[in-house]
Structures are given as C-alpha cells and as structure tokens.
C-alpha cells in the first residue's frame, strides 16, 4: 500500500511502485480530471502540483512521492472553479475540446504562484504544454488577466 496526500486527503492506494503517479491518480484514486496525452513528459496534460510546483505526473513513479508531499489535482485547485486562473479561463472561453486544459490551468496556476506578475516572454517560455486545438492566444490572455487582478499569487 502506498500513502498519498491527494487534494488534502491522505489515502492508501494499491499500485506497483513504478506505476506513474498519473495513472494512480486516474485509476486508483478515480480522479480523471488529470489527463494522459503522451506519457513521456512532453505535453503537460498530466500536470499536477506537488508542494505547489507543477509536475508532469505521467513521468513520476508513484513511489517517488512521499505521504507528506501535498499533491493537488485540477479537482482540488479550488472549490467552485474559483481560482483566478479558472475564472479568467471562463471569462475568455479559453477551452476548445478542453482535454489539455486541466494541465494548462495547473501549469498556469503554478507559474502565477511563483511569479505573480510574469512578463509575456516569461509566460511564453514557462508554459510549454501542448494544445492541439491551438488555444494558445487565449491561454496567454487568460494568464495575463489572472495576473493583472493580482490575486493569483495566493497559491
């Protein structure tokens, strides 16, 4: 049994130690908001926060995460979609198919937590998630909007 702190709840999961954190989150914990897109840390669809930092969970064995590390998934980012990034996303109608968006939102939230007023160049170089629908223009606008309101640094 592996102990994980997932969205503030400590739970035990039955998985082989080398199982990627992504699949433990999706299958054992049943939180399917975190997506599989590539499995090789290329696309960012699987992005979660571990102790506040964005991590591509598809490439992290579950055994490398300890029970005292706080894992936050898209489901745990806020209650009622109230995180400033989620609010900005909703106002700008950022998602198209939406499949990349949990990862996109988690990466953006982590960026703003570390750097509440990023420059456009910093946003462009820090957000490396893939969106096949091509929502990048609105992603950029969404991060700027959330940053302008200055409340996104709350982590």
């Amino acid at each position: 049994m592996i102990r994980l702190n997932l969205n503030g709840v400590v739970r035990e999961v039955d998985a082989e130690p080398e199982t990627p954190l992504l699949w433990v989150i999706r299958e054992q914990a049943g939180l399917t908001g975190t997506k599989y897109g590539c499995g090789i840390a290329q696309c960012g669809a699987c992005t979660v926060h571990i102790d506040g930092a964005a991590v591509r969970s598809c490439s992290m064995p579950v055994s490398s995460v300890t029970a005292d590390q706080k894992i936050v998934t898209i489901e745990g980012l806020s209650a009622d979609r109230s995180h400033p990034v989620q609010k900005a996303w909703g106002e700008l109608d950022v998602p198209q198919c939406g499949f990349c968006q949990p990862g996109m939102i988690m990466a953006s939230a982590a960026l703003l937590a570390q750097n509440p007023r990023p420059s456009e160049a910093e946003i462009r170089s820090e957000i490396t998630n893939i969106c096949r629908c091509g929502t990048y223009t609105r992603v950029l606008a969404g991060i700027k909007l959330a940053a302008e309101r200055g409340e996104a640094g709350r982590g």
Binding site: G33, I40, I74, E75, G90, I105, Y136
Partner: protein, 733 residues
C-alpha cells in the same frame, strides 16, 4: 418514451454521471435490455416532461433542453447549433442546456435528427435549416398551447425569451407552464424562419455552453469513462499495415498484476485486458508477439516518393479542372515556369488518444465512444458485434479533439467491440497509448504536385498545368463516393466552380489532374483535407509566377480574380489590414495566400523573420474569412487562431516517415507541435457576406502554410517546396 431520451451531452458532468452509473447497474439487472441513456434519464425531470418535438424539451423549471445531433470536439458546434434552435424557439438563452440523442434513437425515429456526421466543417452548415425549423416549430406549438388555454387566437400572442404574452388581455405564461400541452399539438406544416438580420442569439458572440466543466476536470471524455465492473484494455496492432499476428505467448504475462485475459483482436492485433489500464499496458509491453509483417515490410519513404514521382509523368490521370489547351499555351509561352512540391503523411494527434468502452452480450452491444459520427459508429459496432443495428447503440461522449480522425474510420471502436466480445457482460474500455496512436493513424494523404505555367510577354498567366500525384482518401475510406474511379476531393479548392471549393483565378488554359498512387499507409480526412496541400501548391506557385513575371504577388493575383469577387474580397481585406503596400519593419518579411474550401473564402498575410541560423519566427498573421453567415464571431475567432496552430505545426515540423513498412514517429518528441512560445499574434477579420453557409473549423488551415512559405522566400530567396519546412536549410549562406 424510453426511445426518446437522449444521453446528456454537455451535461455529462461528474455529478450527472454518478447518477447515470447508478442507473446503469439497474439496467444490468434487467438483462441490459433497457437502454443506458433511458435509465439514466429516469432520474431526471426531463423524463416526466414530454418533448415538444425532437429538438426541444422544456422542463417545468423553464430549463430548455436542446438536442444536438452533431458532435462537439472543441469546434463549438454544440453551442452554435443550440444558438440556432434557441433563436427560432425564442427562449431564454441562459436556461439552455444540451443533450445528445443516440444514433439508435435516430434510427428508431426515422432519422428525425438527420445526419449525425461532424466532419468537413459541416456541423452547422449542413443542418442549420433543419434545426432552425425544429426550433421554430416548437415555438409555434408552445404559443398555440397558450392561446388555446386562454381561448384566443395564436396570432394575437407573442413569445419572447420563454414568455408568451397576450397583449389584448395582458395575460402571460411561460414555456415551462405550457410545454406539456404543446406536446399534444400537431406540428405546423410550414414554418417561416427569421431573417438573419433580426437574430438576437444566433450571430452573436455568446459564450460556449460547455466551458464550465472544462475548467475543473469534471468534463468526462471517453478516456475518463468508468462503469461498474469495468475492465481496461491495451492493444498493439501489427506495426506494419497489412501484416498479421503470427503468435503471442499469453502465459508469459498472465500472472502479472491485474491481468485478466490476453486476446487476439481480429487478424492483426493483440490486447491485454486487466483491472487497470496501466497494468494492461505494462503486461502488453512484456508480451512476446511475433508478427507476420506481410508484403509491405520493405516499403520506405523513399520507395513511396519514387512511386509518386512516377505519377507526375504518367500519361493517365483523372481530370478535375480543364479549360482551353494548356499544352498549346505552354508551347506558345514567352516563359515557362516549372516546380514540384510535396507534402508528407501527417498524424491527427488528437490530444485525447483513441479509446472506446463497450459492453457486449449475445443480445445487445452498447458503446460509449468519442465519435465525430454517431451513425457511422453505430454501423461499426453492429458489424463488429455480430448483432443487428437495432440490438446496438452508441452513446456519444465529448471528444478530446477529432480533426477528422474520429469520423470516417472507427477502427478503434471495432477493436473495442472485438475485445468486449471476449468478456460477455463486462464493460471493457480500450485505450490506445500515444505510441499506438502515432503508429496507426489515418494520415493526411501524401501527394506531390508538379506545376508548369505559361507566361506571355507581359507576364500574364496564360496557362497552368497542375499534376497531382499521390494518395486518394476516398479510395481507402469511402470508395462509394468515387466518381468513375476519380476522387473528387483531391481537387478541393481547384475546382472550376461551384459553392464548395472553387479556384479563385481565371486562367485561360488550365488543366488540373490527378495520378492516383496509393501506398499502403492508410489515409484519412485530416482537418482541412486536400485543401491544405492544394493551397500550398497553388499559392506558393502563384508566388513563384509573380516573381518570374517581375510583379508584386498581390497585384499578380488580383489581375486574375476579376470574376471571383469573394475570393478577391478576403485577399484584399488581409492585404489592406496588414499594410501590404507599406514596408514591414526591418528584418520582417511578408507573404500572402488565399483559398476557398468548405464553402468559405479565406486569406492570410504572414509576417515573419528568419534568424541567421535559419530559424523561422512567425510574428503576426492577419487572417480573413467569409463564411457567408457568422453564427458566433468569438468562436470563429477561436477556430481561426487554432487553425494557425494546426496548420503551422504541420507546415513547420510535422511529417510521418516510413521505414520497414511502419511509421517512424512515436510521440510528441518525434512529432513536434507548435507551443505557446511560437504562437504569433493572429488578427482575424470575419466578413460574412450573407446568402450562403460555409464552414469555419477547417478552411483557414490551408492558407497558414503558403502565407508563411511565401514570406520565407521574401526573407531568404529560398523556395521551400517539400514539407515540412524544418527539412530545408535556411541558414544564411
């Protein structure tokens, strides 16, 4: 009423879903004869409210349920179609929710919802009339019900935002209050639709209906589906198309964690079924499989290129556009210009890999599928299940991207059915890894094009021959749509006329023909389809001709566009907005392109720079589109922005190469996608001229590549004639 209850679509949020799953368990105990959707909706007030008609259900709480036959895959069709119904219905837009009827229900009701297909940018333009009439008929019935209740003439009543008023008596009621009575009223024979200039919901930049669930992970995609008792499967199909399974050693993995079964899938695949997907995949990776790779195992990109090159000179070819005498024009030319271009195979690479969930019993088969075409999916399920279509159904789920991969071919769904047949009564979810998805795409067809043009002494274009050599999509995907052995789709954007995809130039002597050469790698409809390569061929070559004639590329084109005012208007619009006549900033260079396809007219100007190391940076795109009617301008803007990402990713980076009969690229590391750091500023001009309905999800992709390639020539003097651009060395000499 059980036949009439659709699956919740946008409403398939986690909360709704838990109820669905609980209901499903009930369905099982009844031997699964009761449709899943019907059971699910039994929890819902909708089931006690009869529909007004096939398109509209109004609940007592005034919620307006609009039924959507087409599929939502990100392109905004769900919202657009709901806008059209709501416009004619005259309901309160803030009360609108949507649901998907199933193709089985459509079949049972004589195809009341028409075609479910969502491809070719046809989601809205093929069904606007049908859905608007559905909304209008429902409005008439609701008003009539209210009038009847009051004992007044319907003509004295007015409906607005879900409220019906009788001005003379001052009485009002609501749609929700009269919906039950309205359902009993005979549908009107004739309905008059609103003039688009009076629209208040359609044509407006309303927000999407499906955004909220996409912000917190609650939107359920096919890959997320969980059913009680469900198992998961991972599959490997023979990496060489045309090969088969020779043998596999199931015993080697049957003791691994979670593994339930190892099964052969048809002649060509092997799947592991386990409790979780990760365990299924882990066992599959460890499974020894021996393939008979078949006759295609020696094919390579080089042999395919040679096959296509031969077609460039072949004497036999299918004619798509012919006027005058090209050979005579070439003989009499002051100058002949010739060039050969080519595009590679490309994978759709939808963000969500292929997947489907199926439960099969000897009596019934149901699939939960992210499909662009519910009816084609149903046909695939029926065929693979060994049951009749009446014994099957497909529950559509939002797609994590489609781009054409999930419509015309349901190979992945067929596999899921075959796997589920090995576990009667147990739902099984099949998920492809990204690697499987890269290896078994239905690729953007490979073609080459040789063009020869005649210029007269004044630099006028007097003749053009375009010989396309290469793959036909229809020959593989829909041979029934071939016309006398010819694939008409090959000529998209190059047709002599018509409302769909006509060339925008008048050229006195023209010949566009196609030497069909079909390699074994399977093609598919890839967002933009043949309009993409054809725009590269035509619009880059037009640029070459302008330079050969010593003329400005815009002026050279405009001279040929006198008879094509709509093509001309979009081109002029981008040129004006981009400031074509003025010099760009130092180090910045421009290129332009225009094309027509999917019933819409599109054009773009690209502004780029090229570093000394040969790296292309796209700074700004000005793009215009005339889709006839603009149903939701802010979503058109989103589609145009996304189209440049899709088109530029392809033009700059993407190719699927073939070695030993198989695709070499395996994942996003070898098949790169443009990311945020490279996203140019995209300025869109939406300029609907009215009177026709064109698509918006695809056409713009076509102009992305040629606009950039023409700018690359302006910057470097180098013509990039073989895609993708990354293979051409643009370093300063």
């Amino acid at each position: 009423m059980t036949d009439h209850r659709p699956t919740p679509a946008a409403a398939l949020s986690r909360r709704g879903f838990v109820a669905s799953v609980a209901a499903l368990a009930g369905g099982f105990s009844l031997g699964f004869h009761v449709p899943f959707a019907g059971e699910a909706m039994a929890q819902d007030a909708a089931t006690i409210t009869p529909e007004v008609n096939a398109w509209v259900v109004i609940r007592p709480d005034e919620t307006v349920v609009i039924r959507i036959a087409r599929s939502e895959m990100g392109q905004g069709t769900l919202t657009g179609l709901a806008q059209l119904v709501a416009e004619e219905l005259g309901c309160d837009w803030s009360r609108v929710v949507t649901e998907y009827p199933t193709p089985g229900q459509n079949l049972a009701r004589g195809r009341v919802w028409g075609d479910f297909g969502t491809g070719g940018s046809r989601g809205i333009r093929d069904s606007h009339d049908l859905v608007r009439k559905g909304g209008a008929a429902a409005r008439i019935m609701l008003v009539e019900a209210a009038a009847k209740g009051w004992g007044v003439a319907p003509g004295e009543c007015r409906a607005d935002r879900g409220v019906i008023a009788h001005a003379a008596s001052g009485r009002t009621t609501t749609y929700g209050a009269v919906a039950v009575e309205a359902a009993k009223i005979a549908p009107p024979k004739d309905v008059v639709l609103k003039d688009p200039k009076d629209w208040t919901i359609a044509g407006k930049p309303v927000k999407r209906l499906d955004t909220a669930e996409k912000l917190d992970g609650s939107q359920v995609y096919g890959i997320d589906l969980t059913l009680p008792g469900m198992l998961n499967a991972a599959i490997r199909d023979c990496p060489v198309t045309g090969g088969t399974v020779k043998s596999f050693d199931a015993k080697a993995v049957s003791g691994m964690a979670g593994v339930k079964r190892v099964v052969q899938v048809g002649d060509t695949g092997v799947a592991v079924i386990a409790d979780t997907f990760w365990r299924a995949k882990t066992a599959l990776d460890a499974l020894p499989i021996v393939w008979d790779e078949g006759p295609n195992a020696t094919v390579s990109s080089a042999t395919i290129a040679a096959m296509l090159r031969e077609g460039l000179d072949a004497t036999e070819a299918h004619v798509g556009n012919k006027g005058g005498d090209v050979e005579a024009a070439l003989k009499g030319a002051a100058k002949v210009v010739e060039a050969t271009y080519g595009v590679p195979f490309q994978n759709h690479a939808t963000m969500e890999p292929m997947n489907a969930t199926v439960r099969w019993t000897p009596e019934r088969c149901e699939a939960w599928a992210p499909t662009q075409s519910g009816e084609a999916a149903l046909a695939a399920v029926a065929e693979a299940s060994g049951l009749s279509a009446k014994q099957c159904d497909v529950h559509k789920i939002h797609l994590g991207g489609g781009f054409g991969r999930r419509g015309a071919t349901h190979d992945w769904l067929r596999q899921a059915v075959l796997i589920a047949r090995e576990m009667p009564g147990t739902p099984v979810k099949l998920i492809w890894t990204r690697e499987e998805d890269m290896a078994h795409g239905r690729y953007h067809p490979i073609t080459q094009c040789r063009m020869r043009a005649a210029l007269d002494g004044q630099g006028n274009l007097t003749g053009l021959h375009m010989r396309i050599s290469g793959q036909s999509i229809l020959a593989s995907v829909a041979p029934n749509r071939m016309v006398d052995g010819k694939d008409p789709v090959v000529f998209q954007g190059l047709n002599p006329g018509g409302a769909e995809a006509a060339i925008g130039y008048t050229i006195p002597n023209i010949l566009v023909d196609h030497a069909m050469r079909n390699p074994h790698i399977l093609p598919g409809f890839w967002r933009g389809v043949n309009m993409n390569p054809n725009a590269i061929y035509l619009e880059c070559f037009m640029d070459e001709l302008a330079h050969a004639a010593g003329q400005d590329p815009l002026a050279f084109r405009l001279k040929l566009m006198g008879n094509h005012p709509k093509h001309r208007a979009v081109l002029q619009a981008v040129a004006d907005k981009a400031g074509w006549g003025e010099k760009p900033a130092p180090g910045v260079f421009r290129g332009l392109a225009q094309m027509m396809g999917f019933g819409s007219y599109v054009a773009a100007v690209a502004e780029i720079s090229v570093t000394d190391e040969g790296k292309v940076k796209v700074h700004r795109i000005v793009a215009s589109t005339d889709p006839g009617h603009a149903l939701n301008p802010q979503q058109i803007d989103a589609q145009i922005g996304g189209s440049f990402v899709y088109g530029l990713s392809a033009a700059l980076y993407q190719e699927c190469t073939v070695k030993d009969g198989r695709i070499e690229q395996t994942n996003f590391d070898s098949y790169p996608v443009m990311r945020l750091d490279e996203m140019p500023v995209v300025e869109t001009i939406v300029m609907p001229s009215g009177g026709f309905w064109g698509g918006v999800g695809e056409p713009t992709i076509a102009v992305a590549a040629p606009a950039v390639l023409n700018a690359v020539f302006a910057a470097t003097g180098k013509r990039v004639r073989q895609m993708p651009l990354k293979n051409t060395d643009l370093r300063r000499a």
